[in-house]
């Protein structure tokens, strides 16, 4: 058992950081003794920090018509490290377990998952609807989250504001919300998002501006 622990903690030490592109694990304590999350679940000082803090939001289905959008949308938790992300992800229901009309939102801290938020108002969303319920939505949603918090989905800093999962009767929708509607910035993000969602050549990914969100007949700004 101790051997297994040692093997598992090798990757977490400062000396054994594998690839050069990977972020170095940081010490959150000035103490020289390195303790990983496997040594102690509460007192460990080696973590993999994320570039941004992220907040998980949840929209519960409306049971009462008097409930407004703001009543239904609640922040769950904010995190800033890979370890925390996995701890949260393992503790909450999977995408496929959510009830109908429920949403998960993962957004940068201090950005609300609303069109009206100043960070979102000029942007839009890459959007894909999975109408076939046989897909592995848990895997696709996880890949989306990892690409967002790992920030490999974007070239520019902080162009992606967050990701949204909508569970509906007709389809399950995964969206990527962006800060701007700049085609030059959006195109590479869309191409990477296609790979994350494992879309086939026949599937098309559409970008809709938030300004056109109210207009159902609006055409997508960009399609890849």
């Amino acid at each position: 058992m101790s051997e297994e622990l040692n093997k598992a903690t090798e990757n977490l030490s400062l000396d054994a950081q594998a690839p050069a592109t990977e972020a170095p694990a940081t010490e959150t304590s000035t103490d020289n003794a390195q303790s990983t999350v496997l040594d102690s679940k509460k007192e460990f000082n080696v973590k993999h920090p994320l570039n941004s803090k992220w907040t998980l939001w949840y929209t519960k289905p409306a049971n009462n018509p008097k409930e407004s959008w703001s009543d239904l949308l609640k922040p769950v938790i904010t995190f800033s490290s890979v370890e925390e992300f996995w701890g949260i992800f393992n503790s909450i229901p999977q995408a496929g377990e959510l009830p109908l009309k429920a949403d998960y939102h993962l957004f940068r801290e201090n950005i609300k998952p609303e069109w009206e938020d100043p960070e979102n108002s000029k942007g839009g969303k890459w959007n894909f609807q999975f109408k076939n319920k046989d897909i592995n939505i848990n895997e696709l949603w996880l890949r989306t989250l990892l690409s967002v918090i790992g920030e490999t989905i974007e070239d520019d800093d902080n162009e992606v504001n967050g990701a949204v999962l909508n569970v509906r009767k007709v389809a399950i929708r995964i969206s990527l919300w962006t800060k701007s509607s700049d085609r030059a910035k959006l195109f590479p993000i869309g191409m990477k998002f296609r790979k994350v969602l494992k879309l086939s050549d026949a599937d098309s990914l559409e970008f809709l501006s938030h300004k056109d969100a109210d207009n159902r007949s609006a055409k997508p700004l960009l399609t890849v």
């Binding site: 990757n11 429920a102 800093d157």
Partner: protein, 161 residues
């Protein structure tokens, strides 16, 4: 700027650390309860998916104008069934008697109905007088001589000018 590939992040899954600031058990419980509630509601409503499926729930009833079927012929005392159409003959002495009987019934006083015109809703309750009709005729008629006279006047005026 640190970037993590998806595969790198997946390798770090074992290092998960659950923050204690949120009661995830309570959060999970509320979501699963909501899911169960929706499933129960769906069962109660009898709707199991699909859109307006005719095989589930109330079917529409379409009116059809089918002719009514005649009752099946019953066997008589001897066990015979007659399929002939029994219609009364329109000729013969018996038929003539019946026709006369019907005509007599119409002539009888008890069956005669007096028809009175109901003129209370008309413009005038008085019966229409034939002299009034004459009075309503067009009074002005075309007078050819008068018309010729007008033309001559116009010509004379032009001559004067």
């Amino acid at each position: 700027m640190a970037k993590y590939e998806i595969e790198q992040l997946i390798q770090l899954r074992e290092t998960a650390y659950v923050p204690t600031s949120v009661d995830f058990a309570e959060f999970t419980k509320s979501i699963l309860e909501e899911r169960e509630r929706q499933a129960q509601q769906e069962e109660e409503s009898g709707f199991t998916g699909g859109r307006r499926r005719s095989s589930i729930g109330i079917r529409p009833k379409f009116k059809t104008n089918r002719p009514k079927r005649a009752p099946a012929p019953q066997p008589d005392a001897d066990g015979w069934v007659t399929l002939d159409n029994h219609r009364k003959s329109a000729s013969g002495e018996e038929a003539a008697n019946e026709k006369q009987k019907f005509k007599d019934s119409l002539k009888s006083d008890t069956t005669q109905v007096k028809v009175r015109p109901n003129n209370k809703n008309l413009g005038s309750s008085k019966p229409v007088d034939s002299r009034d009709i004459i009075a309503d005729q067009q009074k002005s008629t075309f007078n050819a001589f008068a018309a010729l006279g007008d033309e001559s006047d116009e010509e004379s005026e032009e001559d004067d000018e």
